[in-house]
């Protein structure tokens, strides 16, 4: 199959997914959720930020959203992705898709493209409303930092859609797909830290974790998409920012920063979580009997 025809078919699957998300009001619901999340978060941060810190500016308000988003966005991505292929196998409509000359590849990638667009559109619209709220609350906005924050959020959302669709492609049961996808979410978002600390303990024999931390430990920690996301989202914060120096103290290492602890490397980690699950899901699904 030619590349052009392959892309055309994947886009057709993607468009169908997007259309169904519009008709089923999934998109509308998601947009509402993200508007509520960003606007609500910004309003709250503005209120309490002022109480805590008189110098509270747009940056710290915006980054009050950081750890909630690192939890919220993965849940949304997982929720949007986990049924993608398992449900088509459960109902049997996958046979019609294959019957109209779709390949396993155009199905997997088309699903990821379509459902990523659903998540991306809601993130962009939600954060657009957030930008309005930010200006209303503080009278100012820092466009570069805001855009980097939104960009990082998009990468995180797409990474979890890719993961969930890949897991969905391994089973013909939406129940099992749900267990797999949400299990993966729990591992990456909760157990990853524990795992890092366990490795640290096995390596050093001590339970106390104090800076300067070993570089491999920081890297391992950052391999979790949610942590990498926080690094990327804060990458353009000024060096002297309270928030960033706090973060650097927690995760920081002494001396020269190795390349793999630079923010751009965290972008690569997010990219890894988009590309590798999609590719692995495709390779697995291609061989699968359905």
């Amino acid at each position: 199959m030619s590349v052009g025809r392959w892309t055309m078919r994947a886009m057709l699957v993607g468009k169908k997914e997007f259309l169904v998300a519009i008709r089923s009001r999934v998109l509308l619901g998601l947009i509402a959720l993200f508007v509520l999340f960003t606007v609500g978060g910004i309003v709250l941060a503005a209120q309490f930020g002022n109480l805590v810190n008189a110098d509270s500016n747009t940056v710290s308000i915006l980054f009050g959203l950081l750890s909630p988003a690192a939890m919220f966005v993965p849940i949304i991505g997982t929720l949007i992705g986990y049924k993608a292929i398992a449900a088509e196998r459960e109902s049997g409509s996958i046979y019609s898709l294959l019957g109209m000359s779709h390949s396993r590849g155009t199905i997997v990638f088309g699903k990821i493209i379509g459902r990523s667009c659903v998540v991306a559109v809601s993130i962009v619209l939600g954060f657009s409303a957030g930008a309005v709220a930010l200006v209303a609350a503080t009278g100012t906005i820092r466009p570069v930092q805001f855009l980097v924050f939104v960009g990082a959020t998009l990468l995180l959302g797409v990474a979890y859609v890719s993961l969930a669709v890949a897991i969905s492609s391994t089973t013909g049961s939406t129940t099992r797909a749900a267990w797999g996808a949400f299990g993966t979410f729990v591992v990456l978002n909760f157990l990853w830290e524990l795992l890092a600390f366990l490795l640290h303990f096995l390596h050093t024999g001590t339970t106390s974790i104090e800076p300067p931390l070993p570089e491999w430990f920081v890297l391992f920690f950052r391999l979790s998409p949610a942590v990498a996301y926080q690094i990327v989202a804060t990458a353009t914060l000024p060096e002297d920012d309270l928030f960033l120096s706090g973060l650097a103290e927690v995760s920081g290492t002494a001396g020269e920063t190795p390349f793999y602890l630079e923010p751009w490397f965290a972008v690569g980690i997010l990219g890894f979580w988009i590309v590798v699950p999609a590719a692995a899901g495709y390779v697995r699904f291609k061989r699968l009997e359905i």
Binding site: G92, S93, Y95, S96, L98, M100, S101
Partner: protein, 318 residues
Amino acid sequence: MSLTDPQRTGSAETAAIDLEGATKRYGDIVALETVSLTIPRGEIFGFLGPNGAGKTTLIHLLLGFARPTGGELRVLGDDVQEAPQQIRERTGILPERAAVYDRLTGREHVSFAIKSNGADDEPQSILERVGIADAADRNASEYSKGMKQRLLLGMALVGSPDLLVLDEPSTGLDPQGARDLREIVRAEAARGATVFFSSHSLDQVEAVCDRVGILANGNLIAVDSIDGLRNTAKSKTTLTVDVDRLPDGTISSIEAIPGVADASGNHTNVTVSCEDEAKPDVLAELEAAGASVNTFDTDEPSLEELFVAHTSSSDGER
């Protein structure tokens, strides 16, 4: 369309479906046992068997949904393991366990199939062909079972495929729907397409198929034309004779007549299962034994009964 149609003879070089010992095992379970079958281009082939006989398994092997564990399977000249995509691009599929998308209209379904296949059909004409044009812009979730089946059939017709694989296509269709289906199948075959039509029920296929294959427990137990099957049916005629009396030893002398499979009787009633040609000999033998025949009745099994007999006797062998 005549048999000398150039397009038809030109494409008849390779068989539409060519199976050599096709086998599918799931662990210890044999779903399909060394099935060999050749279906020439342009034929309407009825694939019969009770539910669970392995029909869908074979169809899944043909279309690359599952992989054979043995044998050689070629569809439209391509190996099913090497080129499933090329095969599917030239094949229209009406899957047995298919579903439609609830949130898309009938027209959107067909239009999606047309774009995906890179075909140039008109959605409207496809919808008209399968008789759901008036419901074209309604969501498929509102369709009845029969309308969904018609829609899926329409999607299978997109792109004028060389091969149509219809798995239990009459599911959910009312009698009119089944008639329309047969008409479409004939029209597709007239165009030069090969039609592989699976069903658990003989009367769905006998009116339209050139040949039928009967699958039971994963084994292809018969491949024949409908007429051939009818002849087999005739060979299993049951003759019931009323006589005034039945002298001793008559039954065993009837059983000795060539072509008689079985005979039984009580005082005035004899039941003989035999080939059609043996009937006069049976009656003559009765008269010769001193029993005068009052009335007699012959009963040929219907193809349906034959089909049931075929499939249940192989049940007994297992």
